[in-house]
Each structure stands twice: as C-alpha cells, then as structure tokens.
Subunit: 432 residues, 2 copies
Amino acid sequence: MPDHHVVVVGGGFGGIELIHKLKGAPVRVTLIDRRNHHLFQPLLYQVATTLLATSEIAWPIRHLFRDRREVTTLLAEVNGVDSKAKTISLRNGQAIEYDTLVLATGATHAYFGHDEWEPVAPGLKTLEDATTIRRRALLAFEQAELEQDPAAREALLTFAIVGAGPTGVELAGIIAELAHETLPREFRRIDTHAARVMLIEAGPRILPGFVEDLSAYARDALKKLGVEVVTGAPVTSCTAEGVTIGDSFLPCRTIVWAAGVQASPAARWLEAPADRAGRVIVEKDLSAPGNPDVFVIGDTAAVQTLDGKPVPGIAPAAKQQGAHVAKIIRARLSGKTSPGPFRYRHQGSLATIGNREAIIDFGWIKLRGATAWWIWGLAHIYFLIGTRWRLAVAWSWLWIFLSRQHSARLITQKETMRDEAASERERTNVKA
Amino acid sequence: MPDHHVVVVGGGFGGIELIHKLKGAPVRVTLIDRRNHHLFQPLLYQVATTLLATSEIAWPIRHLFRDRREVTTLLAEVNGVDSKAKTISLRNGQAIEYDTLVLATGATHAYFGHDEWEPVAPGLKTLEDATTIRRRALLAFEQAELEQDPAAREALLTFAIVGAGPTGVELAGIIAELAHETLPREFRRIDTHAARVMLIEAGPRILPGFVEDLSAYARDALKKLGVEVVTGAPVTSCTAEGVTIGDSFLPCRTIVWAAGVQASPAARWLEAPADRAGRVIVEKDLSAPGNPDVFVIGDTAAVQTLDGKPVPGIAPAAKQQGAHVAKIIRARLSGKTSPGPFRYRHQGSLATIGNREAIIDFGWIKLRGATAWWIWGLAHIYFLIGTRWRLAVAWSWLWIFLSRQHSARLITQKETMRDEAASERERTNVKA
C-alpha cells in the first residue's frame, strides 16, 4: 500500500468524485461518513412527494468502491480536526492520521435563528427528512378523512412550502399533483381537489436563480397545477397550528421548510474564517487558509468564480471541486506544477414543475415545458449510479407517466414526538 | 348506497380477500387499519435481509379499493367493540356502527413471558421490524470494521436467530449469504466470511411443520450456506451482550426473534374465549361465540380443520377465511341457506433456504433444491398485487440472481433507545 494517506470526510457528490478521480494515484484513501449511503440529493424531493422509493436514490458507499482495494470506508462520525498533529478524531474516541484531508461534509437546513421551527417545519436534506415529509403529507389526508370539524379539516388540507428555490418549487408542484390527480379517487369523505398548496417566498419572485421570463413561466405552470404562489411574503412564525406570513395567520398542519441552509461544522473544526452560512472561506485552490494539506469542498466551502460570483451549492459544482482537489493531490505527489486556482464551469440550471414540465437555462439556450422535462429526466437517469438503479427509476417514472399514479406512498414510523426530539438532537450535533 | 354496513378491521390477507369477494354484494364497507398499507408478509424476511426494498412488498390499502365507491378506508386504531350496541370505538373517540363486523387484526411476536427480551431481540411482523433488523445486521458489520478489540469484533460478527420455523430458516439463510457472498469484497479490516450465523431451535428439528426428510434436507442446505444449526436448545435469556442457550452463553450483538406469536386483542374486545396465544376460539362458521354478526379470521382466530387439526397461520388460510365470511354475508342478505362450516384446504407448505434453494410440500408431490426455488419465486411474484410491483420484484430478484449482490442495503433511522422505547410502546398497545 502507498504511504500517502488521503482522508475524505463525507460521501456526497464532492467526496465520491474526488475518490473516483484518485483511481490509480499512489495513495491510500479512507472515506468516512456518518451514513452508510451516498444520496442522490437532486431527486430527494421525489421521495418526499411519493414519486420514488428511498432505495431508488441511495447506494451503500462501500459498495461503490468495492473494487478499489486501497479505499477503506468507515461508518463513523467525525467530531474534530487537529491540523498540527494531522489527525481527525471520531466520536467513538479513535483518531485517524492523514497526510491530506478533504472535508466534504455538506450542509443542513437553517431557520435564520428560529431553530424552534424545525419540529413543525422539517427541511429536506436526508432520506429521513424525506420520509418525514412524506409521512406528514399523507397523514394529513388520512386525518382529514376522519376529521368531523370543517375548520380542522381545512387546516389538514392546507400545505405550506416556505421558500421558492428549486426545492420549494419542485415540492409544491408534486404535492399539488398528488392532491389533484393521484388521490381524488381514493377518498370518500373528503374531496382532495379542495386541498390548498401554498408556496411562500420572501423575495420578489420565485426561482431567483433563473432569468425573469423562466421564473414567470414557472409561476404560471405552478398556477395551472393549482399551487397558490405568494411572493414578497416573509414567514414570521411556524407552529403546529399554522404559519404566519407577515402578520396574517394561515391555519395549516403541514409545513415544509425550503428556505435556507447552514454548512456543517468544518469551519469550527479548523478554526477557519467562515461566511454567514458557516461555510469555510477557502483559498483559490480550495485549501483551508493556512492549511495547504486540508481541502474543503462542496456545500461546506464558500467558493467564488474567477469573476467574483458565488459558486452555487449544486451537485456539479461539488463534483468539479472534488476533481480539482484530486488533480492537486496527483500533481503534488508526482512533483508537477499545481493546476492552480479552481475554475467553476456552470453547465446549466434546471428545475421541474410538477411531473410534466421543467425549465432549463444552459446559458446558450433556454428551454421550458415538456421538452425540458424530458431532457431533465434523461439527464438525471444518466447521472444515477449503476444500471440496476437507472432501470428501476426509469420504470418508476414510466409507470407514473402512464398511470398518473404515484406509487411510493408508504407511511412508516409512527408520527410521535420522538421523531422531532431525535431530529432536534441530530441537528444539534451538526451545528454544535 | 346499500344499508347493510360491513366493518372490517385489519387490511391483511384475510380482510382484503373478504372485501374483494364482497364485490357487487348489497353492502357498504368500511375498512379500518392502523397502517396505511397492506403488507405482503411472506416476503418480509427479504426486506429484513437486504434483498428487497420496503416499497416492493407493501401497497396503500386505499389504493387497492380506489374503484370500489362503496368501500371507505380509514387509517385509525380500534380500541374496543360494543357488540350489544353494535359499534366499535376508535382511539380518537369516534364510534362506528356496524351491521356485520369482521375482526382480522393479525398477530404480533410473543416472548413467552419475557417481554423484556424484545428490545434486544426484535421479531418480524411489520415493515418497521424489518428495517430494524436490517439496520442492526448492517450496523454490526460496520461497527466490526471499526472495532479494535477482537472479542468485541467476534460478538459483532455473530448473528443469532431464535426459532427455526420458516421465518427463522429464511432469515438465517440470507444473512449467511450476505456475510459470505455479498459483503466480503467491501470490507478491508474484517473478513466477513468469519461471521457466524446461528439458528437456534428449542425443538428436536428445524421446520417441524414439514416431513422429516425435507426438514433434514433444509438443515443440510443451511449448513452448506455456513449456518450453524442448533436444535434441542431452548433460549433462556437474551441481553444486549448475547444469548444464553440452556446454560451456555453466546456473545452476540444481533439477535432476531422468530419463535412465537401472540394474537391481537380481539378476544379481549369481545370478551370471548381464547387459546394460549390469545386467539379467539371461533364457531365452525368463524363467527364469535354468541355473536353471529361478528366474525374473526386470520391469525386472530383459532380455527380447526374438520378433522380437528389447527389451521396454520399463513396467508392462504386467512384468504380462505375471508372468502368464507363473504359467502356467509351474501347468503344472509339474499336469504339463501348458509354455506355452513369453514373448510380449510391446505395448498402446500413452502420455505426457502438462502436465495437458490427451497423446499415445497404440496402433499401429492414434494420438491427441493433449485427447482423448488423457481416455483416458489414464480408463485410469489404471481401473488403480488399489480403489474407494477410484479415487474419491480422480478427485476430485483433477477439482478440479485445475476450479480449475487443484495441491493437493498440502506441504513436509515439512527439506532437509539427511542426506537426500542417506541417499539415497546407499540407492543403494549397491541397487547393492552
């Protein structure tokens, strides 16, 4: 085994790409993640909204590297870095030495100082988050079918999505389709057509990352699906009874938070400068300030393009950063000149609206409607890992397309306070 | 809507079949279940052992009856029956009137007076049970990869399955395959070939429901897969450290309970006579003693064949009972003579050993080995509900067959005491 030990923390898009790009390099690699699976986060909203099953968008990390003898995968939680001793510490008390360390630990949702909203307004970052949102949305319809008080029934049939970035838009579109197309035939006492899906955005328009006419198109497409879009509407409170927008109260029993993210605690581990979202402000080559052997990539890093714009927190950006760090490591070990600063190449922005339309901005061309949806779908199937899953997801989507029936509709785990307590604990761990 | 109201509690094989067989009868039906899904329990062990995903063997109950306008599905928990007033009560305080009541509420696992064993030795009845067992088994390998103490590592790599009926045999076979075939290439510090899978049976032989030579064949087949079979070995204690067999202690960190069942509390609701496992001792027509308008079917009922043998607690028996009660209800409403006592027709006994062999006893012919496995597999795909799932399961099995890789290997929900506390609470509800 080679001597040079690369430790990678986090098996998301950045960490996985880095290790793929180190194939054949004279290094041994240890990949540490506190979950056993790599998650295809761009499709997580489809699990939350009953289109896909959890198993279709996540793969055991160690399975991905089964043929790379020099890669060891550990399921463990990192809780500190000693950059002088060049070790990281695990929660179970063990320490692991590194020659090069790559922190790719991602981000979680943020409530702008209102962490008390999380139990009633879960965000969407993990498989558990997705099953929680799915369970709550499906339970709301179930409870409405039982409920005899009209006001309570109306609150049960009102769904509020806070934040109109791509995730918020995608959640709202599919929940509306679920209520208005999949479920009506199955309920006898309520009319699920009456369900209200509200998309609430503090800023002046939805999808602010897109040009104005695509954003306006998306708004119209959502309207056609029956989503009520409210912009310029800051949420000032979330409770179990509903959400307050500005100073008007909307009774609703299901709230989903898609309004902000907070980086994992890598900055604290490194005692490095961070931006407002907790991301490490890295050097131009993605190394931590004053720590040339430590790199920070993906949602944990605040990176700028060469002309000073922030690099977006999306999968292609994380992958490009992973590939760049792999190039630097190879150059250093072979004594070649460093590849220099990281250059981000934006390949395009995509968002789907319901299950038949999308908007895509490739820069040189802008697409909308059904064509865009097909391109989006094929691209995502292509980026899934492995034939087995590509076919499974293609089959699920084909079925939904033909039957208009969402099939991933299991309610598992009882909805009790313990779920909230646990998610609270987990969140505290991330931010502590 | 017709006047006669049939209330069915429980959406398992018995309840679902009953409602299918009532199609076109002059009744309205309310089906109540505390879960939103019908579970294909014969394949539940495949979820627990990483062969299938949860979504492949469970379907939303209300989806099954979406085209039957006279069937209302409610997600609710029943907590009592007033057979004089002819109402059932729900946990949320509502009461529902019935003309005919069918209790098909199933069974849960039983620990022969040692309920304190449940947190360390989960049984296999629900999707959550299956994901708990899967999580524990996979976490044991993960923790062994991190563990530095050899004795602790050995305990982590020892798996005890208590009870050698079909479920115990099926679990043991697949866990052995997982350890010896799927996982070895993925671990670097441990050799998963070294994992021990123990199948522990108090009685003199495994699969006591089968004839002796099939049972002996299964034992040999398990041995070839690397399972250690111990018979005549009563378990006297289960703890987080291991299992005590007779008076010898086996250190092991994963225990699965497949040794006994306990019926749901229908007997208590009806104040009816029950057998030792809590099953209602029903009349020959499956009605509750002294309650001709109340029927009890499936695992909740103690039923005998015409020659006095107990009817087994398997899916075909529950379905036949559901069909029989539907016939009685139709006969009563049309003023025809009653179909008389329930007659059980045993169609065969099946068990799989690992993922390539099975034993089948059809009575008139006995099969073993690969042929039996193919028949078993085709039969189970046939009995799944809907083309969408038949193809999904067939695809998963084909993939495993070709690649020898189990793919449903996600660890979700953190393993904490809250899981145990919750499963304990749930259990108490069932038995209370």
